[in-house]
């Protein structure tokens, strides 16, 4: 498919995206849009961003051939883009550095963030410490329970973690609360949004800061195997790691793009977090996209083993890529993800995040039926140290 010039000036990807916000936020978003427009064409800003990625994050992240696991599966070769090796242990920091540099440019001394699994919260707390900013992270009280190591990490980094008790007490409610804070403190505060969702310009901005993942793959894969992979696979919650690795591959013919949503206890059970697989378009959190909702348009509670995928919406560019047919979206349930988690530990000595384990599980599902010279590139978006309590509990082990 030919590369597209989206979003449009109002943030639309076809019928999706946009800026569906209360009037109170319109001016702040306009200001951010203007500032980003200048920054993205400012060589000094870009140079500093790249410098930070190299020296602070440790980029480029390597690509690793998971030979033993591929051998055991008996089909296509699986390669892993090692975002888990980034500073703070996930892809999230690519974006928080970009947004913190924007915040500094705009003279904002206070940053806020929402977090589900805690990875984006940690990445935000990290850059706030790095640039000397005050940081407040909103996190659902349910998520605080299941991700306690990350909560402690944020506190060590000097951030204030606010437990959100409203609604389902998960990521979507943390996002509501962060928006409320932003509306109230809009002049002093920069909202570091963690995923490729929310009102324009966030989906574009987050994509632009995450595309470094795919850009690196474009040069690394030919160096390793002499060509591009047959498919690129990434997990999709809000969709930032997926859009980051997909975006540079969109114009490259012959490379399948596969997004993997959280199937929870199975799509048929209704207990999942897979809006692209089983949702309908609607408006939430400032943008139009596929949503998990009931017949009255109320957002329904999602379920996933992984807090980072436990979100009822999905970034608007993914909705557009689904409708256009350029990317395909599938789902992996809790049990399959957990199995892939254990297999990567045992076969490769890598503990993956439960989020990324969904992408790994889909690779494991399709690899066996493929020829051995086919190549699947999986975005290993984060490491799984934060998940060991959850996995131990599910396995009936007390730590």
């Amino acid at each position: 498919m030919q590369m597209y010039d989206l979003p449009d000036a109002q943030g639309h990807f076809g019928p999706y995206g946009g800026a569906f916000v209360a009037e109170t936020l319109v001016t702040a978003l306009d200001q951010l849009k203007r500032e980003y427009e200048v920054a993205r064409h400012d060589p000094e800003f870009q140079a500093e961003y790249r410098h930070e990625l190299k020296h602070y994050v440790g980029r480029p992240s390597p690509i690793y051939h998971a030979k033993r696991w591929s051998e055991a599966l008996g089909g296509a070769q699986i390669y892993l883009k090692r975002e888990d090796l980034n500073h703070t242990g996930a892809h999230k920091i690519n974006n928080t550095i970009g947004q913190a540099l924007l915040a500094r440019r705009m003279g904002k001394k206070r940053v806020i963030a929402e977090t589900g699994a805690g990875q984006h919260g940690v990445a935000s707390a990290t850059v706030a410490a790095r640039y000397g900013m005050e940081c407040v992270v909103y996190m659902g009280s349910e998520d605080i329970k299941r991700q306690s190591p990350n909560v402690f990490r944020m506190k060590l980094l000097g951030a204030k973690v606010v437990a959100v008790e409203s609604g389902s007490k998960t990521l979507k409610d943390a996002l509501n609360e962060a928006m409320r804070d932003w509306v109230t403190n809009v002049e002093s505060t920069f909202y570091i949004l963690g995923t490729a969702a929310g009102p324009h310009p966030y989906p574009m901005l987050v994509r632009d800061f995450q595309r470094v993942i795919g850009d690196e793959c474009l040069t690394q894969m030919p160096e390793m195997i002499g060509r591009q992979p047959d498919a690129v696979i990434a997990c999709v919650g809000g969709g930032s790691n997926a859009i980051g690795i997909f975006y540079p591959y969109i114009p490259i013919d012959g490379v399948r793009l596969i997004g993997v949503e959280a199937g929870g206890r199975g799509i048929a059970s209704g207990r999942h977090a897979a809006p692209l697989s089983a949702g309908r378009p609607g408006v939430l959190h400032g943008f139009r996209s596929y949503l998990m909702q009931d017949g009255n348009g109320q957002i329904i509670e999602t379920h996933s083993i992984s807090a980072g995928l436990d979100y009822p919406g999905v970034g608007p560019e993914h909705a557009w890529l689904k409708d256009s047919g350029r990317a395909e979206y599938v789902s992996i349930d809790d049990d399959e993800a957990l199995k892939a988690f254990h297999n990567l530990c045992r076969f490769e000595g890598i503990i993956p995040a439960l989020e990324s384990s969904h992408a790994l599980a889909h690779a494991a599902r399709i690899a066996p039926a493929m020829d051995k010279d086919k190549v699947l590139l999986v975005n290993l978006s984060g490491r799984g140290d934060k998940d060991i309590d959850t996995v131990a509990r599910l396995s009936g082990i007390e730590l």
Partner: protein, 265 residues
């Protein structure tokens, strides 16, 4: 002339200001909503704002969030809110009703279905918090065609050129959010409100209502010195929250009557 415009014209002729209380439909229970609406009118309300419950009320503070959650526990959706409005209309054909809520319940019903059902139920105006003019031109046109007034919010942060762009689309009245923040937040800068409201009225040629942060009769009276209408939400929802079922209607009516008296002083 719409029911909202007629109401403002009559008030203006009488030298009075409009009192617009807000309640969430279905709070504390669906069968209490129509009696509460009548109690608000009996207490002296001129226009009613009826909140449509939503699972993710991003622009609301904790008080109205709780009201939404109470209503959702009873499964109250947009269709029920329209049925309540129709129930109210059986005995009150004069008091305008404005629905206030979020985009997604309307999207789920569909714009055409919503506009015709709302008009038929006797709804007069629609205020959709997360439909700024940029995203709602087509919806606004459908509302206008169905005879529904589109009410828009203006904020302290809205720049002047944008104010005139919004007021060109607005019908009925415009709603000035008197402070930065969510509904029910604490303080209010009256001098700032006065300056902005004068400017907005001049630009809009429509009455200006002021809301967010008005918690007592005295503040309402001072806001009414500069505005055409005063909107009170969280404070009334608190009254509902803190009332026993038996005292509910009397308490709400009493509170509204107190504000009414202050406005008419």
């Amino acid at each position: 002339m719409s029911r909202i415009t007629a109401t403002f014209a009559a008030l203006s002729a009488a030298g009075r200001k409009a009192l617009i209380p807000f309640i969430t439909a279905g709070d504390p229970a669906p069968e209490r909503t129509v009696p509460l609406m009548h109690a608000l009118v009996a207490g002296g309300a001129d226009i009613l704002e009826l909140g449509v419950p939503f699972s993710d009320p991003m622009a609301d503070g904790p008080t109205i969030q709780r009201a939404s959650e109470r209503a959702l526990k009873h499964g109250v959706g947009l269709k029920d809110v329209l049925a309540m409005t129709a129930g109210f209309r059986k005995t009150d054909t004069a008091t305008p009703v404005v629905l206030m809520g979020y985009a997604n319940p309307i999207e789920a019903m569909g714009w055409d279905a919503f506009c015709s059902a709302a008009a038929q139920a006797g709804v007069d105006g629609v205020l959709t918090v997360d439909y700024p003019p940029e995203e709602s031109a087509e919806f606004a046109a459908k509302c206008a065609a169905a005879g529904l007034d589109n009410i828009y919010l203006l904020a302290p942060t809205t720049p002047d050129p944008r104010i005139s762009a919004i007021t060109r689309l607005a019908r009925g009245f415009v709603y000035y959010v008197s402070l930065k923040g969510v509904t029910g937040a604490a303080t209010l800068d009256l001098a700032e409100v006065a300056a902005r409201v004068g400017m907005i009225r001049a630009s809009a040629g429509l009455p200006v209502g002021v809301g967010f942060g008005i918690r007592d009769a005295e503040t309402a009276r001072r806001v009414a010195e500069v505005a055409d209408a005063v909107v009170i939400g969280s404070r009334i929802v608190e009254e509902i929250e803190n009332s026993t079922p038996d005292a509910l209607l009397a308490n709400v009516k009493h509170f509204v009557a107190g504000v009414r008296a202050a406005l008419d002083k």
